[in-house]
Amino acid sequence: MSRVSSKLASAVKCSDEFNADACMHCGVCTAVCPMGYEILPRKLFRYVQVGLEDKVKENISSIYSCLLCGMCAENCPAEVNIADNVRFLRKYINENEFNLS
Protein backbone atom coordinates (compact mmCIF):
# COMPACT_ATOMS: atom_id res chain seq x y z
CA MET A 1 0.00 0.00 0.00
CA SER A 2 1.24 3.49 -0.86
CA ARG A 3 1.69 6.08 1.82
CA VAL A 4 0.59 9.65 1.54
CA SER A 5 3.57 11.92 2.22
CA SER A 6 3.00 15.29 3.74
CA LYS A 7 6.49 16.40 2.64
CA LEU A 8 5.81 16.18 -1.08
CA ALA A 9 2.28 17.48 -0.66
CA SER A 10 3.45 20.53 1.26
CA ALA A 11 6.32 21.16 -1.18
CA VAL A 12 3.76 21.16 -3.97
CA LYS A 13 1.43 23.43 -2.03
CA CYS A 14 4.16 25.99 -1.29
CA SER A 15 5.48 26.04 -4.83
CA ASP A 16 4.21 28.22 -7.61
CA GLU A 17 6.18 26.01 -10.03
CA PHE A 18 4.02 22.90 -9.70
CA ASN A 19 0.48 23.52 -10.79
CA ALA A 20 -1.79 20.86 -12.18
CA ASP A 21 -5.00 22.12 -10.55
CA ALA A 22 -6.57 22.84 -13.91
CA CYS A 23 -5.95 19.28 -15.13
CA MET A 24 -9.18 17.47 -15.92
CA HIS A 25 -7.44 14.14 -16.54
CA CYS A 26 -8.56 13.88 -20.13
CA GLY A 27 -5.39 11.98 -21.07
CA VAL A 28 -4.62 13.92 -24.24
CA CYS A 29 -1.08 14.63 -22.97
CA THR A 30 -0.31 10.94 -22.52
CA ALA A 31 -1.76 10.14 -25.93
CA VAL A 32 0.49 12.60 -27.75
CA CYS A 33 3.64 12.08 -25.67
CA PRO A 34 6.36 10.59 -27.89
CA MET A 35 7.77 8.56 -25.01
CA GLY A 36 4.63 6.41 -24.82
CA TYR A 37 4.96 5.72 -21.07
CA GLU A 38 1.66 5.15 -19.32
CA ILE A 39 2.71 7.36 -16.41
CA LEU A 40 3.83 10.40 -18.42
CA PRO A 41 2.63 12.93 -17.65
CA ARG A 42 -1.01 12.68 -16.42
CA LYS A 43 -0.73 9.77 -14.02
CA LEU A 44 2.42 11.20 -12.51
CA PHE A 45 0.66 14.47 -11.76
CA ARG A 46 -2.18 12.53 -10.17
CA TYR A 47 0.27 10.80 -7.81
CA VAL A 48 1.77 14.15 -6.90
CA GLN A 49 -1.59 15.81 -6.35
CA VAL A 50 -2.69 13.14 -3.94
CA GLY A 51 0.74 13.05 -2.25
CA LEU A 52 1.75 9.47 -3.14
CA GLU A 53 5.48 10.02 -2.69
CA ASP A 54 6.27 6.27 -2.89
CA LYS A 55 4.69 6.11 -6.33
CA VAL A 56 6.65 9.16 -7.43
CA LYS A 57 9.89 7.60 -6.18
CA GLU A 58 9.18 4.31 -7.96
CA ASN A 59 9.05 6.27 -11.18
CA ILE A 60 12.19 8.34 -10.93
CA SER A 61 13.58 7.18 -14.25
CA SER A 62 10.33 8.11 -16.05
CA ILE A 63 10.53 11.57 -14.52
CA TYR A 64 14.04 12.04 -15.92
CA SER A 65 12.98 10.47 -19.24
CA CYS A 66 10.63 13.30 -20.09
CA LEU A 67 12.08 15.13 -23.10
CA LEU A 68 10.61 18.48 -21.98
CA CYS A 69 9.52 18.62 -25.59
CA GLY A 70 6.21 20.29 -24.75
CA MET A 71 4.04 18.22 -27.12
CA CYS A 72 1.72 17.48 -24.18
CA ALA A 73 1.29 21.12 -23.11
CA GLU A 74 0.77 22.23 -26.71
CA ASN A 75 -2.27 19.94 -26.91
CA CYS A 76 -3.56 20.24 -23.34
CA PRO A 77 -7.06 21.76 -23.29
CA ALA A 78 -6.49 23.10 -19.77
CA GLU A 79 -3.18 24.80 -20.56
CA VAL A 80 -1.32 23.02 -17.79
CA ASN A 81 2.35 23.99 -17.84
CA ILE A 82 3.57 20.43 -17.93
CA ALA A 83 7.30 21.05 -18.46
CA ASP A 84 7.48 23.30 -15.40
CA ASN A 85 5.78 20.60 -13.37
CA VAL A 86 8.29 17.98 -14.50
CA ARG A 87 11.19 20.31 -13.71
CA PHE A 88 9.71 20.86 -10.25
CA LEU A 89 9.60 17.11 -9.61
CA ARG A 90 13.20 16.74 -10.75
CA LYS A 91 14.17 19.52 -8.40
CA TYR A 92 12.34 17.79 -5.55
CA ILE A 93 14.07 14.46 -6.26
CA ASN A 94 17.48 16.11 -6.73
CA GLU A 95 17.18 17.77 -3.35
CA ASN A 96 15.49 15.02 -1.37
CA GLU A 97 16.84 11.83 -2.93
CA PHE A 98 20.11 12.71 -4.65
CA ASN A 99 21.40 15.40 -2.28
CA LEU A 100 21.91 17.73 -5.23
CA SER A 101 20.95 21.35 -5.44
Binding site: M35, E74, K91
Partner: protein
Protein backbone atom coordinates in the same frame (compact mmCIF):
# COMPACT_ATOMS: atom_id res chain seq x y z
CA UNK B 1 20.86 -1.47 -15.69
CA UNK B 2 20.27 2.08 -16.89
CA UNK B 3 22.96 4.68 -16.45
CA UNK B 4 23.09 5.99 -12.89
CA UNK B 5 21.02 9.17 -13.04
CA UNK B 6 22.19 10.49 -9.71
CA UNK B 7 25.90 10.24 -10.53
CA UNK B 8 25.63 11.71 -14.00
CA UNK B 9 23.60 14.64 -12.68
CA UNK B 10 26.19 15.02 -9.92
CA UNK B 11 28.99 15.27 -12.48
CA UNK B 12 27.08 17.89 -14.48
CA UNK B 13 26.38 19.98 -11.38
CA UNK B 14 29.95 19.65 -10.06
CA UNK B 15 31.31 20.74 -13.42
CA UNK B 16 29.03 23.76 -13.61
CA UNK B 17 29.95 24.76 -10.06
CA UNK B 18 33.67 24.20 -10.40
CA UNK B 19 34.41 24.75 -14.05
CA UNK B 20 31.51 26.92 -15.24
CA UNK B 21 30.26 24.40 -17.78
CA UNK B 22 28.56 21.00 -17.68
CA UNK B 23 31.19 19.69 -20.06
CA UNK B 24 34.13 22.06 -19.79
CA UNK B 25 36.18 22.70 -22.93
CA UNK B 26 39.31 24.67 -23.58
CA UNK B 27 38.96 28.24 -24.87
CA UNK B 28 40.84 27.06 -27.95
CA UNK B 29 37.99 24.62 -28.71
CA UNK B 30 35.16 27.08 -28.06
CA UNK B 31 36.65 29.97 -30.07
CA UNK B 32 38.34 28.08 -32.94
CA UNK B 33 35.37 28.74 -35.26
CA UNK B 34 35.93 32.53 -35.10
CA UNK B 35 39.54 32.40 -36.26
CA UNK B 36 40.17 34.89 -39.06
CA UNK B 37 36.69 36.47 -38.93
CA UNK B 38 37.95 39.60 -37.15
CA UNK B 39 34.90 39.91 -34.95
CA UNK B 40 35.30 42.73 -32.42
CA UNK B 41 35.63 41.67 -28.78
CA UNK B 42 32.53 42.52 -26.72
CA UNK B 43 30.13 45.30 -27.69
CA UNK B 44 26.53 46.22 -26.92
CA UNK B 45 25.27 43.48 -29.22
CA UNK B 46 27.06 40.15 -29.16
CA UNK B 47 26.77 36.82 -30.91
CA UNK B 48 26.47 34.27 -28.12
CA UNK B 49 27.20 30.68 -29.10
CA UNK B 50 26.60 29.20 -25.63
CA UNK B 51 29.11 26.51 -26.74
CA UNK B 52 26.41 24.17 -28.01
CA UNK B 53 27.75 23.68 -31.54
CA UNK B 54 31.29 23.30 -30.18
CA UNK B 55 30.15 20.70 -27.64
CA UNK B 56 28.58 18.26 -30.08
CA UNK B 57 31.77 16.57 -31.31
CA UNK B 58 32.77 16.05 -27.67
CA UNK B 59 29.33 14.82 -26.59
CA UNK B 60 29.43 12.50 -29.57
CA UNK B 61 32.71 10.98 -28.42
CA UNK B 62 31.28 10.59 -24.91
CA UNK B 63 27.99 9.13 -26.16
CA UNK B 64 29.87 6.42 -28.00
CA UNK B 65 31.57 5.49 -24.74
CA UNK B 66 28.33 5.70 -22.72
CA UNK B 67 26.32 3.50 -25.10
CA UNK B 68 28.95 0.87 -24.43
CA UNK B 69 28.42 1.37 -20.70
CA UNK B 70 24.63 1.22 -20.59
CA UNK B 71 23.48 -2.29 -19.71
CA UNK B 72 26.89 -3.26 -18.38
CA UNK B 73 28.14 -3.57 -14.86
CA UNK B 74 30.72 -0.87 -15.50
CA UNK B 75 27.96 1.64 -14.69
CA UNK B 76 28.97 1.10 -11.06
CA UNK B 77 32.08 3.08 -11.83
CA UNK B 78 30.07 6.23 -12.35
CA UNK B 79 29.96 6.93 -8.61
CA UNK B 80 33.71 6.67 -8.63
CA UNK B 81 33.71 8.80 -11.77
CA UNK B 82 32.05 11.61 -9.92
CA UNK B 83 34.83 11.64 -7.33
CA UNK B 84 37.55 11.46 -9.95
CA UNK B 85 35.83 14.16 -11.96
CA UNK B 86 36.06 16.55 -9.03
CA UNK B 87 39.84 16.33 -9.29
CA UNK B 88 40.40 15.79 -12.98
CA UNK B 89 38.34 17.31 -15.77
CA UNK B 90 37.14 14.11 -17.47
CA UNK B 91 35.56 16.00 -20.37
CA UNK B 92 38.94 17.37 -21.28
CA UNK B 93 40.07 13.85 -22.13
CA UNK B 94 36.88 13.18 -24.08
CA UNK B 95 37.73 16.34 -26.02
CA UNK B 96 40.92 14.68 -27.17
CA UNK B 97 38.87 11.81 -28.59
CA UNK B 98 36.55 14.07 -30.61
CA UNK B 99 36.73 13.78 -34.37
CA UNK B 100 38.60 16.64 -36.05
CA UNK B 101 36.41 16.44 -39.16
CA UNK B 102 33.29 16.72 -37.03
CA UNK B 103 34.72 19.71 -35.18
CA UNK B 104 35.40 21.43 -38.48
CA UNK B 105 31.87 20.70 -39.63
CA UNK B 106 30.25 22.27 -36.55
CA UNK B 107 32.67 25.23 -36.61
CA UNK B 108 31.54 25.95 -40.17
CA UNK B 109 27.90 26.27 -39.04
CA UNK B 110 28.89 29.01 -36.59
CA UNK B 111 30.90 30.73 -39.32
CA UNK B 112 27.81 30.57 -41.56
CA UNK B 113 25.74 32.27 -38.89
CA UNK B 114 28.29 35.04 -38.30
CA UNK B 115 28.54 35.53 -42.07
CA UNK B 116 24.76 35.77 -42.44
CA UNK B 117 24.55 38.40 -39.69
CA UNK B 118 27.26 40.41 -41.44
CA UNK B 119 25.35 40.16 -44.73
CA UNK B 120 22.30 41.50 -42.90
CA UNK B 121 24.41 44.49 -41.75
CA UNK B 122 24.12 43.61 -38.09
CA UNK B 123 26.86 45.09 -35.89
CA UNK B 124 27.96 42.54 -33.35
CA UNK B 125 30.89 41.45 -31.23
CA UNK B 126 31.86 38.21 -29.53
CA UNK B 127 33.20 37.47 -26.06
CA UNK B 128 35.76 34.90 -27.29
CA UNK B 129 37.29 32.90 -24.40
CA UNK B 130 35.20 34.77 -21.83
CA UNK B 131 31.93 33.45 -23.22
CA UNK B 132 30.21 30.95 -20.92
CA UNK B 133 27.89 27.99 -21.40
CA UNK B 134 24.27 28.95 -20.59
CA UNK B 135 23.53 26.23 -18.01
CA UNK B 136 20.67 24.85 -20.16
CA UNK B 137 21.11 21.19 -19.25
CA UNK B 138 21.33 21.85 -15.52
CA UNK B 139 18.16 23.95 -15.77
CA UNK B 140 16.33 21.15 -17.60
CA UNK B 141 17.38 18.61 -14.99
CA UNK B 142 16.04 20.80 -12.19
CA UNK B 143 19.36 21.41 -10.43
CA UNK B 144 18.21 24.89 -9.57
CA UNK B 145 20.84 25.96 -7.02
CA UNK B 146 23.75 25.38 -9.41
CA UNK B 147 21.76 26.90 -12.26
CA UNK B 148 20.88 30.08 -10.36
CA UNK B 149 24.53 30.67 -9.44
CA UNK B 150 25.61 30.14 -13.01
CA UNK B 151 22.92 32.39 -14.49
CA UNK B 152 24.13 35.16 -12.18
CA UNK B 153 27.69 34.58 -13.41
CA UNK B 154 26.61 34.97 -17.04
CA UNK B 155 24.58 38.05 -16.18
CA UNK B 156 27.63 39.60 -14.45
CA UNK B 157 29.70 38.87 -17.54
CA UNK B 158 27.18 40.72 -19.72
CA UNK B 159 27.23 43.65 -17.30
CA UNK B 160 31.03 43.76 -17.30
CA UNK B 161 31.03 44.11 -21.08
CA UNK B 162 28.05 46.47 -21.27
CA UNK B 163 26.06 43.94 -23.33
CA UNK B 164 22.40 44.87 -23.87
CA UNK B 165 21.49 42.50 -26.70
CA UNK B 166 22.45 38.89 -27.27
CA UNK B 167 22.04 37.01 -30.54
CA UNK B 168 21.82 33.27 -29.95
CA UNK B 169 22.43 30.43 -32.37
CA UNK B 170 20.49 27.48 -30.94
CA UNK B 171 17.10 26.91 -29.28
CA UNK B 172 18.38 25.69 -25.90
CA UNK B 173 20.54 28.74 -25.28
CA UNK B 174 17.79 31.02 -26.59
CA UNK B 175 15.20 29.52 -24.24
CA UNK B 176 17.51 29.42 -21.22
CA UNK B 177 18.57 33.04 -21.60
CA UNK B 178 15.23 34.46 -22.68
CA UNK B 179 12.80 32.51 -20.52
CA UNK B 180 14.73 30.97 -17.59
CA UNK B 181 17.22 33.73 -16.71
CA UNK B 182 14.57 36.37 -15.91
CA UNK B 183 13.08 33.90 -13.40
CA UNK B 184 16.42 33.28 -11.70
CA UNK B 185 18.32 36.58 -11.98
CA UNK B 186 16.66 39.66 -10.58
CA UNK B 187 16.54 42.53 -13.01
CA UNK B 188 17.86 40.52 -15.99
CA UNK B 189 17.06 42.88 -18.85
CA UNK B 190 19.30 41.76 -21.70
CA UNK B 191 17.37 41.40 -24.96
CA UNK B 192 17.73 37.87 -26.38
CA UNK B 193 17.05 36.98 -30.00
CA UNK B 194 17.81 33.97 -32.11
CA UNK B 195 19.81 34.69 -35.26
CA UNK B 196 16.82 33.45 -37.26
CA UNK B 197 14.65 36.19 -35.80
CA UNK B 198 17.35 38.80 -36.40
CA UNK B 199 17.79 37.74 -40.03
CA UNK B 200 14.05 37.61 -40.74
CA UNK B 201 13.53 41.05 -39.19
CA UNK B 202 16.43 42.51 -41.18
CA UNK B 203 14.52 42.05 -44.44
CA UNK B 204 17.73 40.82 -46.13
CA UNK B 205 17.47 39.68 -49.71
CA UNK B 206 18.89 36.42 -51.07
CA UNK B 207 21.80 36.37 -53.49
CA UNK B 208 20.45 33.32 -55.31
CA UNK B 209 17.25 31.37 -55.97
CA UNK B 210 18.05 27.82 -54.98
CA UNK B 211 15.04 25.87 -56.20
CA UNK B 212 15.78 23.10 -53.64
CA UNK B 213 13.22 20.92 -51.90
CA UNK B 214 13.79 20.66 -48.19
CA UNK B 215 12.09 19.18 -45.15
CA UNK B 216 12.47 21.42 -42.13
CA UNK B 217 12.72 19.74 -38.74
CA UNK B 218 11.32 22.24 -36.23
CA UNK B 219 13.00 22.28 -32.85
CA UNK B 220 10.49 21.67 -30.01
CA UNK B 221 11.95 24.53 -28.00
CA UNK B 222 12.00 27.04 -30.84
CA UNK B 223 8.49 26.17 -32.01
CA UNK B 224 6.62 25.66 -28.77
CA UNK B 225 8.52 27.73 -26.24
CA UNK B 226 10.02 30.55 -28.26
CA UNK B 227 7.51 30.92 -31.06
CA UNK B 228 10.09 30.55 -33.82
CA UNK B 229 8.24 28.84 -36.66
CA UNK B 230 7.71 31.34 -39.45
CA UNK B 231 11.14 33.00 -39.53
CA UNK B 232 13.10 30.11 -41.06
CA UNK B 233 10.27 29.46 -43.52
CA UNK B 234 10.27 33.07 -44.60
CA UNK B 235 14.05 33.09 -45.13
CA UNK B 236 13.89 29.86 -47.14
CA UNK B 237 10.80 30.87 -49.10
CA UNK B 238 12.42 34.10 -50.28
CA UNK B 239 15.36 32.09 -51.60
CA UNK B 240 13.15 29.82 -53.68
CA UNK B 241 13.35 26.76 -51.44
CA UNK B 242 10.15 24.72 -51.44
CA UNK B 243 9.31 23.05 -48.18
CA UNK B 244 8.14 19.46 -47.87
CA UNK B 245 6.69 19.46 -44.38
CA UNK B 246 6.72 16.22 -42.36
CA UNK B 247 3.43 15.04 -40.82
CA UNK B 248 4.33 16.64 -37.50
CA UNK B 249 5.73 20.14 -37.95
CA UNK B 250 5.63 23.68 -36.62
CA UNK B 251 4.01 23.85 -33.17
CA UNK B 252 3.25 20.13 -33.39
CA UNK B 253 6.77 19.08 -34.25
CA UNK B 254 8.16 15.80 -32.90
CA UNK B 255 11.22 15.75 -30.65
CA UNK B 256 14.56 14.47 -32.03
CA UNK B 257 15.22 12.49 -28.84
CA UNK B 258 18.49 14.32 -28.23
CA UNK B 259 17.67 15.61 -24.73
CA UNK B 260 17.83 12.04 -23.41
CA UNK B 261 21.22 11.20 -24.84
CA UNK B 262 23.18 11.74 -21.63
CA UNK B 263 20.88 9.76 -19.29
CA UNK B 264 18.99 7.26 -21.44
CA UNK B 265 20.82 6.74 -24.74
CA UNK B 266 18.70 3.78 -25.87
CA UNK B 267 15.44 5.71 -25.42
CA UNK B 268 16.99 8.72 -27.09
CA UNK B 269 17.77 6.61 -30.15
CA UNK B 270 14.26 5.15 -30.21
CA UNK B 271 12.68 8.63 -30.37
CA UNK B 272 15.22 9.79 -32.96
CA UNK B 273 14.34 6.76 -35.07
CA UNK B 274 10.61 7.62 -35.07
CA UNK B 275 11.35 11.19 -36.07
CA UNK B 276 13.80 10.12 -38.77
CA UNK B 277 11.06 7.89 -40.27
CA UNK B 278 8.61 10.82 -40.38
CA UNK B 279 11.22 12.98 -42.10
CA UNK B 280 12.23 10.24 -44.51
CA UNK B 281 8.59 10.03 -45.67
CA UNK B 282 8.99 13.52 -47.22
CA UNK B 283 11.64 12.03 -49.53
CA UNK B 284 13.65 15.25 -49.16
CA UNK B 285 16.85 16.30 -47.53
CA UNK B 286 16.40 17.64 -44.04
CA UNK B 287 17.48 20.89 -42.37
CA UNK B 288 17.71 21.31 -38.60
CA UNK B 289 18.04 24.45 -36.48
CA UNK B 290 19.68 22.97 -33.42
CA UNK B 291 22.99 21.11 -33.12
CA UNK B 292 21.39 18.51 -30.83
CA UNK B 293 18.65 17.78 -33.39
CA UNK B 294 21.31 17.63 -36.07
CA UNK B 295 23.50 15.03 -34.41
CA UNK B 296 20.54 12.91 -33.24
CA UNK B 297 18.83 12.82 -36.62
CA UNK B 298 22.02 12.29 -38.57
CA UNK B 299 22.74 9.19 -36.54
CA UNK B 300 19.16 7.95 -36.82
CA UNK B 301 19.06 8.54 -40.57
CA UNK B 302 22.04 6.20 -41.00
CA UNK B 303 22.84 7.82 -44.33
CA UNK B 304 19.33 7.25 -45.80
CA UNK B 305 18.87 11.01 -46.21
CA UNK B 306 21.02 14.08 -45.89
CA UNK B 307 20.56 16.01 -42.66
CA UNK B 308 22.26 19.39 -42.47
CA UNK B 309 22.18 22.55 -40.41
CA UNK B 310 19.82 25.18 -41.78
CA UNK B 311 22.69 27.67 -41.76
CA UNK B 312 24.33 25.75 -44.63
CA UNK B 313 21.32 26.34 -46.89
CA UNK B 314 20.93 29.95 -45.75
CA UNK B 315 24.62 30.66 -46.33
CA UNK B 316 24.31 29.39 -49.91
CA UNK B 317 21.13 31.35 -50.53
CA UNK B 318 22.28 34.62 -49.03
CA UNK B 319 25.76 34.65 -50.53
CA UNK B 320 27.96 33.96 -47.52
Amino acid sequence: MPLPTKDILGILADNLNQRKSVLPMSAAATTRWAKGLDLPKGGKTILYTGHMYQLIPIIDAMATQMSKLEDSSITKLFGLGRNVNKLVNMTFFMGLMASKAEQKDYDRMLRNIAGLLKKANVDFGYLYGEELYSGALVYDEGIDGAFAKHAQRVCDLFKKHGVSKVITVDPHTTHTLRTAYPQFVEGFDVEVKSYLEVLAESGMEPAAQLGDELALHDSCIYARNENIVEQPRELLGKAGVSLKEPSLCGKNTHCCGGPLESLFPAESHRIAGSRADQLAATKSNVATMCPICLVSLRKAAKGSMQVNDLSDTLARAYGV
